[in-house]
């Protein structure tokens, strides 16, 4: 597969260079919301949606910035777009599922500072992706984030029942688990040529 073909871009973002497990982006929500499957799935969906919106807007904004030669405003404008998209998601979730809104708690507005989203928008700019490539990349990234989150949540639910030495319980054990998951994902390196 060529490296700029759409299926490869998707696979690359989804498995090979998984945002969370290979690039260490979005660790805060990854650690914060992955203790229960029930919250991990909606969180993944919310992040995926914000990524799609952010990627579309980032592509347009970047074209404008380059046109007027004011690229130093890129970071500020990207962040503003992401914050607005998150606000939109927050209002939607609050309206349609107050229960879910309470379960996600502080982590919903914190999607703004989810580096996975800004990271994805920056990577797509640095790699000069076309519009369709950008969209594919954002869907792949969002799916990859959700996959990591859901896998992690499944394992942490089991970990709750395990007998872990008190001193390494909680965050330390969760990071060890993430390391093992990341090790497993290393196996995807080289996939697709």
């Amino acid at each position: 597969m060529a490296h700029d073909s759409l299926p490869f871009i998707f696979l690359d973002a989804f498995l090979i260079n998984n945002l969370v497990l290979a690039l260490f982006l979005g660790l805060c929500p990854f650690m914060g919301v992955s203790s229960k499957l029930k919250t991990a799935i909606p969180m993944g969906a919310a992040v995926m949606f914000v990524m799609l919106v952010a990627s579309t807007c980032a592509y347009g904004i970047n074209a404008l910035l380059v046109r007027f030669d004011i690229e130093y405003l890129r970071l500020i404008s990207y962040i503003a777009v992401i914050a607005s998209a998150v606000q939109l998601v927050e209002m939607t979730v609050k309206k349609f599922s107050p229960t879910l809104f309470r379960m996600l708690g502080i982590f919903l507005p914190l999607i703004t500072t989810n580096c996975a989203i800004l990271g994805m928008a920056l990577f797509q700019t640095f790699r000069d992706y076309s519009f369709s490539q950008s969209i594919t990349y954002s869907v792949g990234s969002g799916a990859g984030f959700s996959l990591a989150l859901i896998l992690m949540a499944g394992m942490r639910e089991k970990l709750d029942l395990a007998d872990v030495p008190g001193i390494s319980s909680g965050a330390a054990a969760a990071f060890m688990l993430a390391g093992l998951l990341s090790l497993a994902f290393m196996g995807f390196a080289g996939l697709g040529g």
């Binding site: 660790l27 507005p109 580096c115 990271g119 390494s168 054990a173 990071f175 390391g179």
Partner: protein
Amino acid sequence: MSATSSKDKPMTATTFTEGLWKENPVFVMLLGLCPALAVSNTAVNALAMGVASTFVLLGSSLLISLLRNLIPKQVRIASYIIIIATFVTAVDYIIHALSLELYNALGAFIQLIVVNCAILGRAEAYASKHKVGHALVNGFGMGLGFTLALVLVGGVREILGFGTLFGVSLFGAQFQPWAVFILPPGGFFVLSFWLVVFAAVRRNRERKEAAHGA
């Protein structure tokens, strides 16, 4: 510091040191983890990232503390983010000008300082509520704590993964590099190890204090 701040709580050593140990952003509060793992494969990268973040932390603490009475409460997070983004853009250009090699090694992660929750957390929890002097000292302590954490993680990863520390060979030519520590999983493992160490030290101290009290 100006005379008007004398009504404030006096600045104590803890204003500075709490960021280093008791409230270390990475090891205790679990903030700013993404850069702590992503660019900590060598001690040099880790140090550079720490210094860059400290600069942003100092700059944004100063400005946010100065503007704390002017920023309306409703739009404070957005204002903080924009202030932080401004400093990050500056740092990005400075590093680009100073060392192209470092710039390429850190890549997009310089710009990603903007979403480092340790910095936004400081802005919200401290700089927006304290005088400039306090905010600066506290920000500097936090920045040093963050740098310390990064170098601790980066140092271990570099020693095990390359057999070097700050580029200096430690074990001679026959050392077999433990490549997994340079790769992403190594970052998680080393961080997990340091979390256990910090938890152990904290528990020991609590035990001692309890024994003294009894």
